[in-house]
């Protein structure tokens, strides 16, 4: 188990390294951004570029880039949008908003999603099940900006229940901040509720028809006992890794939702860095998003092994 986890981790590092190298080369091949003349930061950025070896071979540049990261934790400084500011500090300052919005969304969606899924599975093939399943399908298909539009138009504009955009400032735990986050949280939640419902329903319907359920009923357990003790436990084998995966995912956030509700988070920073051609920022966030994507995959895979001892990780199928 540990060996498998280590192996996966090493593979992930290798993948990450290759992706970083490719992205780095592709970005450095682009002509560097013209710096504004006369700005006091220009000189700083120029000096930094010289130190980062902008005029030397790309592999040397990559070496210098990695060295700066590992020795000083230095990811470079923004050369366009936030001229002269440290990229890492910028990123860290944007992290709380993203994390909070996503955390709230997950906290909302996990219980609702699982409850709906269980309900649908228990009422399998009745109209309730069909209604929930179809609705789930519909909700998953519709892109999140449509929810954002509907919520913003009806709740924020028509009945003025919520503010239009997320509140500025850094008082992340105040009540007014919470209220102003709600539209964004809700637009994110629709999709994840539907996702959890679908997984739970699919898994539970399969478990409910398996033989040990019959055995549990035969030995005298009530339907409720059998479902809670045996079926639900087995169905958790799939759900819990999904939950772990989405907890890793909260760091990432959603680009579109953050843009629409102007959440001062990582997602909108990333979009801005792309549209504003701020390469150091773009490079750093690319590494960040790649790491998150890879990490959540690993967390999901490994947690299977921890939750269900029957699953032998790394063995040949």
């Amino acid at each position: 188990m540990v060996k498998y986890a280590l192996k996966r981790f090493a593979l992930m590092l290798m993948t990450l390294f290759i992706i970083t190298a490719i992205c780095f080369v592709l970005i450095r091949l682009l002509p560097p951004v013209q710096l504004p003349l006369g700005d006091p930061h220009t000189e700083v950025v120029e000096a930094r570029r010289e130190a980062l070896g902008y005029n030397r071979p790309i592999l040397v540049q990559f070496g210098l880039y990695l060295k700066a990261i590992f020795t000083r934790g230095d990811w470079g400084i923004s050369d366009k949008l936030y001229l002269g500011q440290d990229v890492l500090k910028l990123f860290i300052s944007k992290l709380p908003a993203t994390m909070l919005v996503n955390l709230y969304s997950i906290i909302f969606s996990i219980p609702i999603g699982i409850a709906l899924g269980v309900f649908a599975a228990l009422k399998k093939n009745t109209w309730i099940d069909h209604a929930i399943s179809t609705l789930t399908m519909v909700v998953i298909s519709v892109p999140s900006f449509v929810y954002a539009f509907l919520l913003q138009y009806f709740l924020s504009y028509k009945i003025s229940l919520f503010p239009f955009l997320m509140k500025g400032g850094t008082d992340y735990f105040s009540w007014s901040m919470f209220v102003s986050m709600l539209p964004a949280v809700m637009s994110l939640s629709f999709g994840s509720i539907a996702g959890f419902t679908r997984t739970t329903r699919a898994e539970l319907t399969e478990v409910l028809t398996s033989e040990f359920m019959l055995l549990a009923r035969t030995k005298g357990l009530t339907k409720r006992q059998a479902t809670v003790r045996h079926a639900f436990k087995n169905c958790m084998v799939v759900i819990v890794p999904a939950i772990f995966g989405s907890f890793v995912g909260i760091l990432g956030g959603s680009f579109i939702i953050e843009k629409i509700f102007s959440v001062p988070g990582v997602g909108s920073l990333y979009i801005n860095s792309i549209n504003g051609r701020d390469y150091p920022l773009f490079m750093m966030l690319t590494v960040f998003y790649t790491t998150i994507g890879l990490a959540s995959g690993i967390v999901v895979d490994i947690s299977y092994g921890f939750i269900d001892p029957r699953i032998r990780m790394g063995s040949k199928k």
Binding site: L11, T15, L16, I18, I19, I22, C23, L26, I27, L29, L30, S133, T134, T136, M137, V138, I140, S141, V142, P143, F145, V146, F149, Q152, Y153, Y157, R198, R201, A202, T205, E206, F255, I256, K259, I260, Y270, I271, I274, N275, R277, F282, T286, Y289, T290, G293, L294
Partner: protein, 518 residues
């Protein structure tokens, strides 16, 4: 020694064993049913998928025909009618509350209501459809009780534009006069001058330049000065020194024949024209927008159709390419296995680790200027899109490659290529077809997201795309929700029905997986 009877056998010695007897096996009464016919039969039983298929058909027809039906093209932009609500003149006349270009104005005071009435009186097209509510406000003013009224009014926003001041070249001015003579539609209206309007004010330099004030006013706020019967008093200018050229077209009803219809500017003329009629002059027909207009004054009906055409074609092309690439890649992986499989797996692992948005951005930055935005966008989708298909094909190959019939074919000397594509591949066809249908909504969804975020700008290549329309609609959401509503309705319907259709197809092709996923 027995005589060898086998030596001289002539053909006539043969006889049919069953010449007069019947075979007692019954013939098959039903037709043999193939794999696809079987799947189709199962598919038809799934009602929601059939409905979804119909909706997809309808949306495809919409995409094909809406740019053809619409009197406008994607490049027809109007500078004034931007983000205007749906309006069809023939339906608006019937006054059934649909397609009437209506917009609700909140809290209009009496002054504003009067100016709306004035527009109606001058142009003959009353912008006020209905006064929805009247509010009474009591106020103490210097010890006296004062009552003010405010209104909630439903107006026709196309008529509300009323008269605009525009500077035209003299040729244009002549052409409009000709148009008026031919059709009898009054485009040009007599010009007004501030001195004639604000008769009581000493200094008119601070007064607003509202072209829709054509009547005498009491003050600079624009309170109309009414005559004894309560009518507006026209303030049209009759000053012949200001005008240029001769006006030889129809005049408005109240014109005694002296009103001037332009003010001379150096090289051109400044006129007051009724925008609705000017629109008819320019386009040859009344404004008629089934879904309203977008932020650039384009017909949304046509724009959505154009965007939809692009989305659908793009998604199909991308899926086709990814399907082919992925199938070949997965076939090689699955068939050969071992080291080849491992190496190829690492490659696809690395590629799938890159977030799609990064791929799209890098392709845009590097390739867009060399091969065009569209091609580089396509490349970005192809770059990582085939991985899912490859994994699927690989799994299918692992399942089938050890089976006896493959071994038999191999023993008979079939080549690797033949084994892969003649013997194993057809078995995984069903799975691949269904996943192709499920890939299409995924492509449409990411394409819409990226154009929505503005990372890829396709408007110069394909006119417009749904994502762009939506992000423009989002910007003006409160005043003109239709600009966001129609594109999002289209995308949602398309994605929902494609997913339902794909799921139905998957259940039909693989009955064993039915009901396990959503």
């Amino acid at each position: 020694m027995e005589k060898n009877t086998n030596e001289h056998i002539t053909p006539d010695m043969f006889e049919f064993a069953q010449k007069d007897t019947f075979l007692h096996d019954e013939k098959l009464k039903t037709k043999a049913r193939g794999y696809f016919a079987d799947a189709l039969l199962r598919f038809k039983k799934n009602k929601s998928s059939v409905v979804a298929a119909w909706i997809i058909g309808f949306l495809i027809l919409f995409a094909i025909f809406s740019p053809i039906i619409s009197p406008y093209s994607v490049n027809d932009k109007d500078v004034v009618y931007t983000n205007y609500p749906p309006y069809i003149p023939s339906i608006a006349e019937k006054n059934i509350g649909m397609f009437d270009g209506s917009y609700t104005l909140n809290s209009q005071n009496e002054l504003q209501l009067a100016s709306l009435r004035a527009i109606g009186q001058e142009t003959g097209m009353d912008p006020v459809i209905e006064i929805l509510e009247t509010y009474e406000t009591h106020q103490k003013f210097r010890g006296q009780d004062r009552v003010t009224y405010s209104y909630r009014v439903k107006v026709n926003s196309y008529f509300m534009e009323g008269v605009r001041t525009m500077v035209l070249s003299y040729e244009e001015y002549e052409k409009i006069q000709q148009f008026q003579n031919e059709t009898g539609i009054q485009v040009l209206y007599p010009v007004v001058e501030k001195a004639d309007i604000y008769v009581k004010a000493k200094d008119t330099s601070t007064a607003t330049d509202n072209p829709n004030i054509w009547y005498q006013c009491e003050d600079l706020k624009g309170t109309p000065l009414l005559d004894a019967d309560g009518n507006f008093i026209p303030a049209y200018s009759s000053n012949p020194d200001k005008t240029y050229g001769e006006y030889h077209s129809q005049r408005i009803a109240s014109d005694p024949g002296t009103y001037i219809y332009n003010i001379a500017k150096s090289g051109s003329v400044q006129v007051r024209l009724c925008y609705y009629n000017y629109y008819i002059y320019k386009n040859g027909h009344e404004p008629s927008y089934v879904m309203g207009t977008d932020i650039m004054g384009r017909d949304l009906f046509c724009a959505i159709g154009t965007g939809a055409r692009f989305s659908l074609i793009f998604a199909v092309v991308v899926s086709a390419i990814n399907l082919t690439l992925g199938a070949i890649y997965g076939a090689i992986q699955g068939y050969y296995g071992g080291t080849i499989d491992m190496v190829l797996d690492r490659i696809s692992d690395v590629l799938s680790g890159v977030p799609f948005i990064v791929v799209a951005t890098l392709f845009q930055l590097h390739l867009a200027q060399k091969v065009g935005v569209l091609v580089s966008f396509l490349f970005a989708f192809v770059m990582t899109g085939w991985i899912g298909m490859a994994a699927l094909t690989r799994k299918q190959f692992y399942r089938f490659k050890g089976q006896e019939y493959v071994l038999a074919a191999k023993t008979l000397g079939a080549s690797d290529k033949r084994l892969m594509f003649k013997h194993i591949f057809p078995n995984s066809l069903g799975t691949i077809i269904t996943s192709c249908v499920l890939v299409i909504p995924g492509v449409i969804s990411s394409e819409t997201s990226l154009t929505y975020l503005g990372i890829v700008n396709l408007s110069s290549v394909v006119g417009t795309c749904i994502g762009e329309l939506m992000s423009q609609g989002q910007a003006a959401m409160t005043t003109s929700p239709h600009a966001m509503l129609f594109p999002s309705l289209f995308v949602s319907l398309l994605l929902i029905s494609f997913n339902l259709f794909g799921n139905g197809l998957r259940d039909a092709f693989n009955p064993s997986t039915r009901g396990t996923e959503g």
